[in-house]
């Protein structure tokens, strides 16, 4: 009976939370100037949040330490761009090399482009998954990192000129139709990943993370489930890549270099390996710090005639690396560890307080 009450409470809370989020987005959209930093931070935070959660599905929930997320983002972004750049803009985009004939009149709607971006990334994951997933942990990390670099190099190489526009990259990528668009897409994607994680397949992933030998002894087909996790994670990395393309409007292969992988990893580790809400929270924090609060670290600053030492271009990244090292050394659990910030978490907290207060009564 209390369980039923709990469920009702949780649903009520969820609806309220949804309205609060929508309200915040509405306010930000209506009462801030279009150039206000918070808008950028929120949109970029959402996109990084999605790719961080997708990486967490592999690293935190299945125990496969992958560093290939940027590669799948690149694939998603390019797939999206190639199929959604307006047909009339194509001659301008491909002015140097020309566009492949089969592409010149092709133009998909945005939603189809997003799904396609995910699918292309997922198919590639399926192809490379079989050999790569057989590697033991550290070799797997190296192989996926290498894969991401290979993707980047192939995409930017001259034989691909008439499709990816080679080293010039692609521009005129459709922008977000409105301010809310990225939040809706990211919200749906993260909801799906959360549903997956609480499903029986999600439990099987966690079993593999906890103990491969025991998981296999319990009848879990390791190869199949690792492959599944890899493909699904890549699908959502592809979608986030497409969103990144929309956000930037123009991409080149260097958009998706190792620094991006590093940033995503930073977010996942700070948020806590194995916590979805941790990844989301940390994504907004890290992006806000990087794009907004810590901007000043990259700028030379004078107080009177005194030049503040160390502050110059690139110092921001040094600070970030230090933060990562501190987290890894002293707060290995990150913000959330493997806990989730959900209603159970909150209800339990409240109940504990109550029990502590009313011990003598019962």
């Amino acid at each position: 009976m209390t369980e039923k009450k709990n469920t009702q409470l949780k649903i009520l809370f969820s609806v309220i939370a949804l309205f609060v989020c929508a309200g915040i987005l509405f306010c930000v959209n209506h009462y801030t100037r279009p150039t206000f930093m918070l808008r950028t931070v929120m949109q970029l935070g959402a996109i990084y949040g999605l790719v961080a959660v997708s990486m967490n599905l592999l690293n935190g929930f299945t125990g496969l330490f992958s560093l290939g997320q940027a590669g799948f983002m690149a694939i998603g972004a390019y797939a999206f761009a190639i199929f959604t750049i307006p047909a009339k803009s194509r001659p301008g985009v491909y002015y140097l090399y020309g566009v492949a004939d089969w592409l010149s009149n092709l133009q998909l709607p945005i939603w189809a482009g997003l799904v396609l971006a995910g699918l292309v990334a997922a198919i590639l994951a399926a192809i490379i998954g079989a050999p790569v997933l057989r590697l033991k942990s550290d070799y797997f990390a190296i192989a996926t990192l290498g894969f991401a670099e290979i993707v980047r190099i192939i995409v930017g190489s001259s034989p691909m000129n008439r499709i990816t526009n080679g080293s010039l990259g692609l521009k005129m990528i459709p922008k977000f139709p409105n301010f809310y668009f990225p939040f809706i897409v990211v919200g749906i994607c993260i909801l799906i990943i959360s549903l997956l994680i609480r499903s029986s397949y999600g439990r099987a992933f966690k079993a593999i993370r906890e103990d491969e030998i025991a998981a296999e002894a319990m009848g879990i087909n390791l190869a199949k489930h690792k492959q599944l996790s890899f493909i699904i994670s890549s699908f959502f990395a592809g979608v986030s890549g497409a969103l990144m393309g929309m956000y930037l409007g123009a991409i080149t292969s260097t958009t998706f270099n190792v620094t991006l992988t590093y940033n995503i990893l930073l977010i996942v580790v700070i948020g806590g390996m194995g916590s979805i809400t941790g990844s989301i929270l940390s994504s907004f924090l890290v992006i806000a710090a990087r794009e907004w609060w810590l901007r000043f670290l990259d700028m030379e600053m004078f107080i009177g005639s005194f030049k503040v030492p160390l502050l110059k271009s690139g110092f921001r990244m040094v600070v970030f690396s230090l933060i990562l090292m501190i987290v890894v050394l002293f707060f290995r659990q990150g913000i959330m560890g493997t806990r989730e910030f959900n209603w159970n978490f909150i209800l339990n907290r409240l109940r504990k307080k109550k029990n502590a207060g009313g011990e003598g009564c019962e």
């Binding site: 966690k206 002894a217 319990m218």
Partner: protein, 280 residues
Amino acid sequence: MSEKVLSVQDVTMQFGGVVAVNNLSLEVHKGEIVCLIGPNGAGKTTAFNVITGVYAPTNGAVEFEEKTIISNYPQGKMEKLYAGEHKGKYKKVLEPTPDKITKLGIARTFQNIRLFKSLTVLENVLIAKHMRMKANVFADTFLINWKEEKKMREDALELLRILDLYELKDEKSSSLPYGKQRHLEIARALATNPSLLLLDEPAAGLNPQETDELTDFIRKVRDQFHLTVFMIEHHMNLVMDISDRIYVIDFGKLIANGTPNEIQNNQRVIDAYLGVAEDE
């Protein structure tokens, strides 16, 4: 006592030059509790690992419910290195992975407990039920199969109730007392719906009282679930108390088999094993 559940045939397991299991043959019949005993390093766990598909045997075969499920013969480098017997008797290669074996109906526990530590008791049991799930990822994620999921949960809770673990269902499995962890590992194995249960030293690390509880627990499990139990054990009281038959191995080789009474009076066993056990 007729129906054969498990039949290990001439199994040799050789690691490089080390012969861990040497020409082992044994049988377990339906409804029996059979013990495998022997000194440390005799090759007992390795024999279990062969039966459950962790290692492919170097030579020999394993039958389960009258069907050959595992078979191998020395090949490649092993062809020259092979130090066992019956070379050339087996010609088939059949090397299923452990998950396939579990699906057939053989479940096991581990000598050093291998629970899913950071997950709850209930989750541990649910995971063991995953392999029987019919729905694909898509249906499972979007709750299209909610009925199946509900049934899984009910079955898991029912199992925990029968095994007196219900109260602990939401506890993190690593926070359980050691004895309960052993029980949970058996419960988790049972959740795969096995017909044969392999237990690798289930009483290791338990105090005398916990060992008695475990003895009752194993009997109860065998009777309620109509199981056949094949177990490795060191606690002689437990072994003599619970076994229908006993196999003894030393240096990978079978040195005796029989009823507890026969084994207790077997001079070879006393020399190789029981004598040592008394010294401990």
